[in-house]
Structure formats: structure tokens, C-alpha cells
Amino acid sequence: MSDLVLPRPQGWIGTTDDWARGLGVVFVVVAVILIVVGWRRLRDRGLDPPVKQLLVIPLLVLPPAIVFFGYSYGIESSKSIGSCGSCHVMKPFLADLKNPASDSLAATHYKNRYIQEHQCYTCHTDYGMFGTVRAKMEGLGHVVRNLSGAYSLPLKIAHPFPNSRCLACHRESLKFRNSPGHPKEDLPKLLSGENSCIDCHGPAHPTFTTLEASR
């Protein structure tokens, strides 16, 4: 799949992410240089007006810009499957996702591009702002547990997987609506979560009892 590199559109000047990253790096470098210069001048001259004016840029103007571009780039890049798979414990799941021979639900969605990008994030984030915030907070917990090794194998999802994550994409598709497996009288049970999509269409991922698959 990766050998198909699309040509850039005419007038290509990079993505928003590229710009956020590039400007972020430039602002950080400028801020650090100005702080170093300011530090040297402070030692020699004290906090006189020219030094104060110099320090306005790295201590007042640039920090909000660095935070803005850091958020913009960091949050967006954390949605990538590479970011999810960067923890050792996630590598078998990433390997399965990319395995053309795998018929797990996740791999099927990935290899057929049923989800265009950010495949992990799309399925594991609830909808709406609080879903995103909750996913980020849970992500922090994952980082802490991965660092401390406070997890046990096989990994289990923390909460039952809500059908709303599947139905957000599938509920309006004709394939879903016309499927004999989804009779109208059963739809309320699907919507309420009484019946789980995964019960019939799972498993979403293989069960890994060891991390051997990542080696």
C-alpha cells in the first residue's frame, strides 16, 4: 500500500500539521535564543528597558504561540495509529491491523479503508467534546500504566464497547439497513446497547496473551 505515493496537488505548501510543526520549532528556537541573549545581558546590565523589551518576545509573545501550535500539532498527531502503536503493549494490535491475512474486525476496517485515517482513535473515541476529553484523559492513564507496567495480559477494554461508535458510521448505510441480520424490531436493542454489535461481528481484535507478536 505504501508504494502508491500520490503526487502533490499543484501549489502544494504543506498540510496544517506541517505548518504547525514548522512554526512551533521556529518559535521555540527563537524563544530559547532570545532567553539566552537576555540572560547574558541581564548579568551585565541588569533589568534595564532594552533588556525588558527584548524579554517581552520570549516571555510574553512566544509562549502562547508555542502552546497553540503544540496543541494543534500534538493533539492531531496523537490520533494517528503510529502514536497508539508506539507503546510496546499495543504493537501486536497494530501488527494485526496491518496484517492482510487477518480477518479481525479492526483489520477489515483498516485494510478496506472503511475508516480513512486515525483508525484507532475513530473507533475508541465517543462522539462529542466530552468523548474527546474523556479519551484524552484515559490516554493519560494508558501512558502511566504503560510506563509503570501496571497492566496484565491479555488486555481488556476498560468499558463495554458502545454500539454508538459503530452506528455513527453504519446506521445510515443501506447495507446495514437492508441486512436481514438487522431486523427493524431489533434496532431499539442495538440503540440501547442491550445487543452489542461485537457479539455478532467480533472479535474486534485478536486476544494477545503475550507480547511475542510484537517482536
Binding site: 524563544a31 530559547v32 539566552v36 551585565d44 533589568l47 502562547p64 500534538g74 502514536s83
Partner: protein, 69 residues
Amino acid sequence: MTDRVAVPWLVRLSMMSGALGALLSLMLFLHAGPYTLVAFMFVAQPLLLAAVALFVIQVLKDLRRERLL
């Protein structure tokens, strides 16, 4: 031998905080991943915020001392 000029500790702290926050942010820009993102969100951001706040406090103190506020 040169005499060292007294520098307000608020400015020193602001500069150290700003430099550290900026360098931690640089880690995120150079290698985005879960650890660098957590470091950015929970360490770099507060440091950058502290740098701004401490510098503003120093400026306000100076303005008050000069009776401009």
C-alpha cells in the same frame, strides 16, 4: 573582575521556566508521541504559563514602583 548586577528573582524564574517549557515543547515538535504529548500538556504548558505570569508580575511591580500604575 566585573560586578554582577542584581536581577529580580521573578525574571530569572520566568526565564528558566520559559526556556524549559520551550525545550519540552520542542521534544513534541520533533517527535510526537504519547510521552512527549503528556510532557507537553502537563509540564511544558504550566511552565510556559508560569513564565508569562511571572514576567507580567515583574512588569507590574516595576510600573508600580515607577508610579505609572
